[in-house]
């Protein structure tokens, strides 16, 4: 997370386009089934459940397990099994009646190790079942955390997201999820950029102010003024002498 937080800082310093910073942790295609839930890293796993019913009454079943790793570097990965024959048919039926496909994860904290991680309640999100079917089960699940590492929200979208009513004939397309999973911590809002502004003003000031202030009018144009004055003085003296000469001539 150290590098990430540095990039955060950079982003906040240069508020050009604040790209939504997300930690792309892992994208599990889900085709590898049977991955052991307890892998080598010291994370913990929470169930990801889903529900899709024709009568829209939620009956959540296990979809997979989310491997969460908290601490400085939060990461998440998902291991999920294929949809069974029955589930596939069920999902198609739900899609036909424009039902909803809901997912839920329990409320957990990623950082708090001492106290109980899990709190009561779930975070729920939904997507239209038809768009899930039409996108051939390619969904994007995003987990949102707050400043202290609690999971506060989950969202699911499918790509593409529209329901056009196209039939999905191939059963294979509905077997496995093609899930992109991200976890998004809050963005730090920028502070007023006073330091940079003052620096820039100083530079501008230097650029414009220095030559003007240092060189006075005389110092700048002495090379024109001195010859001019000299010329005037000389010509004046010549004039006088000329007049004198003329007068003298007149006499």
């Amino acid at each position: 997370m150290a590098s990430v937080s540095r990039s955060f800082l950079l982003l906040s310093i240069i508020p050009t386009i604040l790209i939504l910073c997300a930690d792309f942790a892992c994208c599990n295609t889900g085709r590898k089934t049977g991955d052991g839930l307890d892998t080598d890293f010291s994370g913990f796993s929470v169930p990801l459940e889903h529900s899709f019913e024709v009568d829209d009454v939620s009956r959540f079943r296990m979809r997979g397990a989310l491997q969460l790793r908290g601490g400085r570097e939060t990461s998440v990965s998902l291991s999920q099994s294929q949809l069974s024959e029955e589930d596939r048919n069920n999902l198609k039926e739900v899609a036909a009646v424009d039902g909803l496909y809901k997912i839920r994860v329990p409320r957990v904290s990623l950082t708090d190790r001492q106290t109980e991680r899990q709190m009561d309640g779930y975070l729920t999100a939904f997507v239209r079942a038809c768009s899930l079917v039409e996108s051939h089960l390619s969904d994007v699940i995003t987990l949102h955390t707050d400043v202290s590492g609690y999971l506060i929200g989950v969202s699911i979208v499918t790509i593409p997201g529209a329901c056009r009513g196209t039939e999905v004939e191939d059963e294979v397309d509905l077997e496995a999820f093609n899930t992109t999973l991200t976890i998004i911590p809050p963005t730090n809002a920028p502070q007023p950029e006073t330091a940079l502004f003052i620096e820039r003003m100083d530079i501008e000031h230097e650029k414009r102010g220095k030559p003007q202030e240092q060189k006075s009018f005389f110092a700048k144009y002495w090379m024109y003024i001195v010859p001019l004055v000299l010329f005037l003085m000389m010509s004046g003296a010549q004039d006088q002498s000329g007049v004198g000469a003329a007068n003298g001539g007149g006499r």
């Binding site: 508020p15 829209d56 409320r107 202290s148 730090n188 502004f197």
Partner: protein, 922 residues
């Protein structure tokens, strides 16, 4: 050029031209009304006979002086809001008004002539109990203030009394035990004597005792139904003398606590020996204490009588009794102030000031004539709406012609002819009126607005302001003149009620009258009721609102309309059942059809829970999403969606390189603002969440570190502007968030929250704002073409119109060719406040609480109402009046030029013809 800021101010002025009001425009389209609030203490200026001053101290911590002839404000002192500025007591003597402020913190003396402060003294700590003037030999020199300091005394109620001698008496009672009388010396404040009297029946000396006659304490007891008299100044051990009410042939109404009313006309003299005893809500008896100090004689029985009061002038005392004329009088007056004066013929005249329950202040003169009424309920406006005025009869006739269904060619022609005849008639009548008025002297032409003459003007600049006040009184105010056109007092409104005003049907659906619904919700129980009324006339609608037996969690106005063009209001109760209003068959059928696309959200800030629901066909609901912000970390302080009547004209912004940056215009977007529970300046933060109200998707989550509230924010178009307090730098800061889809639109034809998979780009920038703010709102125009301004209410009472241009996250750090092309102002960390941006010039709005904006018929013009203690109405033109000719437009010049050109062409044409003819002859 030594300072960078001055350089930048000059730089900016090239972009944003000034837009202050000209001197001759003052008051032309704006007005301000000043209020003081509910009266707590009132005094008439009895200093001189011809004085027309009234002095009031109110619950809004205001000390004010009124002109008693007109009800206008002479001057007003607005103290701090809250308990720090509460006025505990107001005493008036001669030209001095003495006031104890802030729970006994300060003693102030005001000069009543000019309203200036004579002096102010800080009192010793302790809570205020009682105060009175102390007089010696007919001159008032001292004021006695009794305060409760520490816990030494365990008395619970007090009375301070001074009868013109050199002693001040303090009476304290230990409930149901005994009464203690302490006499203090005036000279050094030492206790002269202290006595204790057994009084096991007495619980509060304040509420059940008064001093009458020569220092006789008169108490009334409900249990024994008796009066008790006790001489305070008695030398030997005093005893209460019991006088049974039965012996006086008096009977107390069941369940009523009797109240005594007495009067001490001058602090140097003892109170008068006559006093009132209230036996029931509308039953008073005038009693007299006989000279022996023990016996009582009834003088007169007053029934019905709601309020009684005494007033003294010279040697005469007037007892005023207020009797209701009709029983149904709903505005029961809780306070009565009487001022009596001697007329030239030595008879007694009087003036009466009545404060009623609806916070109206009425001034009555002798023959019972109401001189003026002030609607002080308007000092506490809770919410408001602006409603278009109805069309005139002729306009409506024309509208009606197009509104009705076509029924054949011939009837249509007839209808057209008849409506044109009507128009002609109206025009002739208008001409005649003009002619008639022109003959009259100029001053006599009155342009008074009455409810009958109300009609929409050409540009829809005049509207009806429907204001809801905390006391439960509704007002209809003409936005042009500020005159109150109708008022309606809602009884039985709890003081902690929450109001929501909904416009269900606008004036656009002639002949159906416009319809507003006020949702009144008790904050504690959540039980709600609906008041349906016509916003133009204030009359209660005959439509019966549905009964709401369960607490209401949420209300939402759907774009669905019933056959009478009223929008459907959905009310969600605590069992997530939905009630529709109106709930006709047509509506229910439509709801069933649309049920799957009706989503709503609920927020429980105490649990940090945001959840979304979808309507089912049977009007039950289904929870579909849930977001939980743990309350241990942060608490939700505010949630704001966008205004439904907002229009965005431009889909994107053209950038310097001619590509388009499309705005993320999600109508379902909610801005949720949280504050951290940790208040430590280093760890405190303010969170801003942008959540889609349909899918519950968190679109953006930003954390402003080292910040705390109060957070004020505006959510509009594709941006959110919020203001917070920076705890580290100790200053107020503004931050702006803008959302863009990018250079390509996902689906340009229609926006659906369910089909928008990509997250928008979020840009954010923060600025320093050199002032705290109290409220914030954005301007709103008819079509959204005009650029936006933010209207910021400052604590000073000024309303700042800040161009949104300054709050643009794309303001570049370094100026480039492209940014110059786009007219972007280079980034400067400090936001300027320029005095010409104050739209209310010197008409400050005290304690501004809210700003309401409404579009007018002119695209350039936005109507603004700022309310708080005062009400201020004006118009703003964020992009100048680009669609209006100026007032000083030179019609003569333009028409003379036109005519000159016309004639010049005519003449030259003629000349050319002549020339051609001549050439032909040649």
């Amino acid at each position: 050029m030594s300072k960078p800021t001055s350089l930048f101010v000059i730089f900016f002025s090239l972009f944003v031209m000034s837009e202050a009001v000209f001197e001759d425009q003052v008051g032309k389209f704006d007005w301000r009304q000043q209020y003081v609030g509910k009266t707590l203490f009132a005094h008439f200026d009895s200093h001189s006979q011809s004085s027309k001053k009234l002095f009031l101290a109110t619950d809004k911590n205001i000390f004010a002086s009124f002109n008693s002839r007109t009800g206008e404000l002479f001057w007003r002192h607005v103290d701090k809001a809250g308990p720090e500025g509460t006025i505990d007591i107001l005493l008036l003597h001669g030209q001095d008004a003495l006031m104890v402020v802030g729970g006994g913190r300060l003693l102030r003396s005001w000069d009543t002539n000019m309203g200036g402060l004579n002096w102010e003294a800080v009192l010793d700590t302790g809570s205020f109990q009682a105060a009175c003037f102390v007089a010696m030999q007919d001159t008032v020199k001292h004021v006695a203030v009794l305060k409760k300091a520490g816990t030494v005394r365990h008395w619970f109620s007090y009375l301070v009394y001074s009868g013109g001698e050199e002693e001040v008496y303090v009476l304290g009672v230990v409930p149901n035990s005994h009464l203690t009388i302490i006499a203090y010396s005036l000279e050094d404040g030492e206790i002269i004597k202290q006595r204790s009297v057994e009084a096991p029946w007495l619980s509060s000396v304040e509420s059940s005792c008064v001093v009458v006659g020569h220092g006789v304490l008169m108490c009334v007891d409900t249990a024994t139904l008796a009066l008790y008299a006790l001489p305070i100044q008695a030398e030997e051990a005093p005893q209460f003398n019991q006088i049974l009410l039965q012996s006086l042939d008096l009977e107390v109404s069941p369940g009523f606590q009797p109240v005594l009313v007495s009067s001490q006309p001058h602090p140097a003299r003892s109170p008068i020996s006559e006093f009132f005893l209230q036996l029931g809500p509308d039953h008073h008896v005038l009693l007299q204490l006989n000279a022996d100090g023990y016996t009582i004689a009834p003088l007169r029985d007053f029934q019905p009588a709601f309020l009684v009061s005494f007033s003294t002038t010279g040697e005469k005392t007037v007892a005023a009794v207020m009797t209701p004329k009709n029983e149904t009088s709903d505005v029961f007056p809780p306070q009565l102030y009487v001022h009596a004066f001697l007329k030239k013929d030595d008879s007694v005249g009087y003036r009466v000031l009545v404060q009623t329950q609806d916070h109206a202040l009425t001034f009555i003169q002798q023959p019972g004539r109401v001189v003026w009424t002030r609607e002080e309920a308007l000092a506490d406006v809770v919410t408001m709406e602006m409603v278009d005025l109805p069309l005139t009869g002729t306009q409506a006739e024309l509208e009606g012609e197009f509104g009705k269904k076509a029924d054949g060619l011939f009837p249509m022609v007839l209808k057209r002819l008849s409506s044109q005849v009507i128009l002609l008639q109206a025009w002739l009548a208008h001409l005649w009126k003009l002619f008639y008025e022109a003959r009259k002297p100029h001053g006599q032409v009155k342009n008074e607005v009455t409810i009958e003459t109300l009609s929409r003007d050409e540009f829809n600049l005049q509207k009806m302001m429907v204001m809801v006040t905390a006391s439960g009184k509704l007002f209809g105010i003409d936005s042009k003149s500020g005159s109150i056109l109708w008022k309606h007092y809602l009884e039985n409104v709890q003081p902690n009620a929450v109001f929501k005003l909904i416009v269900q049907r606008t004036t656009a659906h002639f002949p159906h009258p416009p319809q507003c619904t006020l949702l009144i919700k008790d904050k504690d129980t959540g039980l709600a009721s609906l008041h349906v009324f016509n916003p133009i006339f204030g009359r209660k609608s005959h439509i019966a609102p549905p009964a709401l037996p369960r607490p209401i969690l949420q209300s939402l106005l759907l774009p669905v309309i019933d056959q009478d063009y009223a929008k459907v209001l959905l009310l969600v109760d605590d069992q997530y059942k939905v009630t529709a209003f109106p709930s006709t068959k047509n509506v229910l059928q439509q709801l069933q059809e649309m049920a799957s696309s009706i989503f709503f959200y609920l927020i429980r800030s105490d649990q940090g829970n945001l959840s979304g629901f979808r309507l089912r066909k049977d009007l039950s609901t289904e929870r579909i999403w849930e977001v939980v912000l743990p309350t241990e970390v942060q608490k939700i302080v505010a949630v704001n969606g966008k205004r439904p009547n907002e229009h965005v004209h431009s889909q994107g912004r053209v950038m310097g390189d001619r590509s388009v940056l499309y705005k993320y215009l999600n109508p379902n977007l909610l801005a949720v603002v949280t504050e951290s529970t940790d208040a430590h300046p280093e760890r405190a933060f303010v969170g801003v969440f942008l959540v889609d109200g349909v899918t519950g998707r968190i679109i953006h989550e930003a954390v402003q570190r080292k910040a705390r509230g109060p957070v004020h924010f505006v959510h509009s178009e594709n941006w959110v502007v919020y203001e917070y307090w920076n705890t580290k730098s100790r200053r107020n800061e503004f931050s702006v968030l803008e959302l863009f889809e990018g250079t390509e639109l996902y689906n340009s034809t229609v926006f659906s929250s369910l089909d928008r998979p990509h997250l928008p780009q979020v840009l954010q920038q923060t600025y320093i704002f050199p002032s705290p703010i109290t409220t914030m709102e954005a301007t709103l125009t008819e079509k959204g073409i005009t650029s936006r301004h933010l209207l910021v209410g400052l604590p000073s009472g000024a309303i700042l119109s800040l161009p949104k241009m300054f709050l643009d996250p794309r303001r570049p750090e370094v100026v480039t060719e492209h940014s110059r092309e786009e007219n972007l102002i280079p980034y400067a960390p400090e936001m300027p406040i320029r005095t010409e941006w104050f739209i209310n010039y010197n008409q400050t709005v005290a304690r501004v609480k809210g700003i309401y904006t409404a579009p007018s018929g002119l695209e350039s013009t936005c109507l603004v109402v700022a309310y708080g203690l005062d009400i201020y109405q004006t118009r703003v033109y964020p992009s100048k009046q680009f669609d209006v000719l100026k007032d000083d437009y030179d019609y003569v010049l333009i028409s003379s030029v036109l005519f000159a050109l016309f004639f010049a062409t005519m003449i030259s044409k003629r000349l050319a013809q002549v020339k051609l003819l001549n050439r032909a002859w040649r």
